[in-house]
């Protein structure tokens, strides 16, 4: 009966009791490389071929219990479970000719099977303590300071979760600095996980200049150094699949964003990468209903940052109907409503950021608009020149950029008007629309860009998005 209950429980909560606890009195092997080596191994779940040791010293470490062997595939009455990625789907398991079952879900990281195990390093590793590591001397706004204090006290205590609900452009990165300062002073290991590699690359220099004495590593699919041996790791969420019970502070940026909230294995990995006693900080501008419910039930502490760092309210989207958008697009024309708006633009020096639902639309709209606006280009996810185009838009080489939802978050352009064509399309959900609206008015010099939703009938997502923005602005006025 007990067993049955544990299976039941397992399907709701992740059980990581199979990760071996760290050894109390670690007898370190006498090896000069050892310090770097144990920093590399600790908190990881690695395959044999990911551990750079010859067979002899590997076996020696295994027999002296410095390395624990962990079977990677669990067998249950309902099927199998991969301990590395949390996969339980039957069709994502297969067997080798010798009958060993392997996981197909995480095979791109190297195969784990019933015969190919994971290895964990058991000695306890002490991370260097840096007192007053924070060299940033900017000032936080009152709203940021409030959130920063909450984050600081969450990091000070153990096993606490905190959701930071901060509007787009609130200055989330700076709010983390006081808390991180404390964490490094206590010798804690910190991970900041974010969904996209470009964000990792953008964050690394900012943290490096704020914490020059702390070793920081950036991990993402194409990063050069994948060792992950630093006390502070900035990583894409996929990289967490190699970690287990590694971090004392786990910060997840954009917890509502695409790969994280869709891919269960990433939630699993993030859950496992943090130590049981870790403080978990979630950052988001647009929480998913799951987190909103938890907030309503007071199960998840939350702190609001309703004000942007420059103190101005969020631009509120306007709705303009363009019922003939699809029809005119078929004839390779734009709806007269849109063209009218473009002609009568109030502030025509601003750059223009146009969101469309699909890649095909982006191509057609760019084609049509290039007749009116000569310096225009488009980007989408499979565009090889994506980052160059975004950079040259930032340098104002282009006046207008047409994009799919890939630019909905994480990018900042100082002075833009934002248009959404066909905003009722299902790719524009509430979160996407709030994020898109948040692209406007980012700079203190031009804090209120226009946001226009051209639609063919209002959708709930559009109405809710505007309501949420109103609510945040109201909260912001009260502060």
């Amino acid at each position: 009966m007990n067993k049955l209950f544990s299976y039941f429980q397992e399907s709701f909560f992740h059980d990581f009791s199979w990760i071996p606890s760290s050894l109390e009195r670690a007898t370190a092997p006498p090896d000069p490389r050892h310090e770097h080596f144990s920093a590399f191994l600790t908190g990881k779940l690695l395959l044999r071929n990911e551990i750079p040791l010859d067979n002899e010293s590997f076996q020696q470490m295994e027999s002296s219990e410095l390395l624990a062997t962990i079977p990677a595939i669990e067998k249950h009455p309902w099927g199998y479970k991969c301990r590395r990625c949390g996969n339980r789907k039957r069709h994502l398991f297969a067997s080798l000719p010798d009958g060993a079952v392997y996981c197909r879900n995480c095979i791109m990281m190297g195969r784990v099977s019933e015969k190919e195990h994971l290895y964990a390093y058991r000695p306890d590793v002490q991370w260097p303590k840096h007192v007053d590591a924070c060299q940033w001397n900017g000032e936080l706004t009152p709203a940021q300071q409030h959130a920063a204090n909450q984050i600081l006290s969450a990091i000070g205590k153990d096993s606490l979760r905190l959701l930071v609900w901060a509007v787009c452009g609130a200055g989330k990165t700076e709010m983390l600095f006081p808390g991180l300062n404390l964490a490094f002073a206590q010798g804690k290991r910190v991970c900041l996980a974010t969904p996209r590699a470009d964000v990792v690359q953008e964050l690394l220099p900012r943290f490096q200049s704020a914490f020059p004495s702390v070793e920081i590593q950036a991990l993402h699919g194409t990063s050069d150094d994948k060792s992950g041996s630093a006390p502070f790791i900035i990583a894409t969420t996929h990289q967490l699949l190699r970690f287990g019970r590694a971090f004392d502070v786990m910060i997840i940026d954009e917890i509502d964003a695409f790969p994280f909230h869709k891919d269960k294995s990433l939630t699993y990995a993030a859950d496992r990468a943090a130590k049981e006693t870790a403080a978990r900080i979630y950052l988001t501008a647009t929480p998913r209903p799951k987190h909103e419910r938890e907030i309503a039930r007071k199960r998840l502490p939350v702190v609001f940052v309703p004000r942007r760092f420059h103190g101005h309210p969020l631009p509120v989207p306007q709705f303009i109907t363009a019922f003939d958008f699809r029809k005119t697009l078929k004839h390779r024309e734009l709806s007269p409503k849109i063209l009218n708006w473009l002609k009568k633009r109030v502030n025509a020096d601003r750059q223009l950021l146009i969101f469309v639902p699909t890649i095909e639309d982006a191509v057609i709209v760019t084609d049509i608009l290039s007749f009116y606006i000569p310096s225009i280009t488009s980007v989408h996810a499979s565009d090889p020149e994506r980052s160059q185009k975004i950079q040259s838009f930032r340098d104002k080489s282009y006046e207008t950029l047409v994009t799919t939802t890939i630019l909905e978050r994480g990018v900042t352009f100082p002075s833009v008007d934002v248009l959404v064509f066909d905003s009722g399309h299902h790719v524009f959900d509430q979160a996407a629309l709030i994020q898109i609206a948040g692209r406007a008015g980012r700079s203190p010099d031009d804090p209120d860009g226009e946001v226009i939703f051209f639609h063919q009938g209002k959708t709930e997502a559009m109405v809710k998005a505007v309501e949420t923005i109103w609510k945040m602005n109201k909260l912001g006025r009260r502060m």
């Binding site: 080798l96 197909r104 195969r111």
Partner: protein
């Protein structure tokens, strides 16, 4: 049923012609399949390389002009071109070790085999892996292909461990020593099975041994033709 390549659910179109037939157990979805290229005519009549006109390609001419290699390999038959999608699939299958992926090509492998070799009484011989590589990978990719074909399979070759072929240039490959050993004599014509035909060196080395060991003719059959 999920597509083995993209993991999406495969939806079968029900039409009047397949309404009463048992559902097919295809393991690749239409979308993924359309990204693959079947090898089509015109091609080299020896190695199945795609060409502008029918004939024999330069590489094969070079092989045939050498006394010691002439007529060693009768003909190679391949199923797919080595395009980007196929490269991705082969890399995942062979190097990452996703063994089950080969089942996606079961029907095409069987169809092409039927078309070219069903008239003859052939013995299938998969190109072997060295023990070290076998230990790493957990399966022999050539045997995986051979076992999908309805014909007798016998592993009469072994391999001495060497460098990976895919890391070498053509000249290095052609001039290497024969990496295989024959375990027993054969009397029937042989169909060698491998995953990729690149320069044909591997297959010709194996074919030479088999011919010396009594095989009257040696053909080869590969999943892809690269180059």
């Amino acid at each position: 049923m999920h597509c083995l390549n993209c993991h999406e659910i495969i939806l079968h179109q029900v039409t009047w012609s397949n309404l009463f037939s048992p559902p097919s157990d295809k393991k690749i979805c239409e979308n993924c399949f359309s990204q693959l290229e079947r090898i089509s005519l015109p091609q080299c009549s020896i190695c199945a390389r795609p060409m502008d006109v029918n004939g024999i390609c330069q590489d094969c001419e070079r092989w045939e002009s050498e006394e010691s290699w002439r007529g060693i390999l009768e003909k190679n038959v391949a199923v797919f071109n080595y395009n980007e999608t196929m490269k991705g699939i082969v890399a995942r299958w062979k190097y990452r070790g996703d063994y089950i992926l080969i089942e996606m090509f079961k029907y095409e492998l069987q169809e092409v085999f039927q078309l070219h070799f069903s008239q003859q009484d052939l013995l299938l011989v998969p190109i072997p892996l060295s023990q070290e590589r076998m230990g790493e990978r957990g399966f022999n990719q050539a045997l995986a292909i051979a076992s999908l074909i309805k014909a007798p399979v016998r592993e009469v070759l072994t391999r001495i461990h060497g460098e990976k072929q895919s890391k070498k240039s053509r000249k290095e490959r052609v001039n290497t020593e024969n990496p295989f050993q024959l375990l027993e004599q054969v009397s029937k014509p042989v169909l060698l099975v491998d995953d990729i035909y690149t320069t044909g060196t591997t297959l010709r080395h194996a074919a030479k041994l088999l011919k010396e060991g009594g095989a009257p003719a040696v053909y080869s059959f590969t999943l892809v033709r690269s180059g």
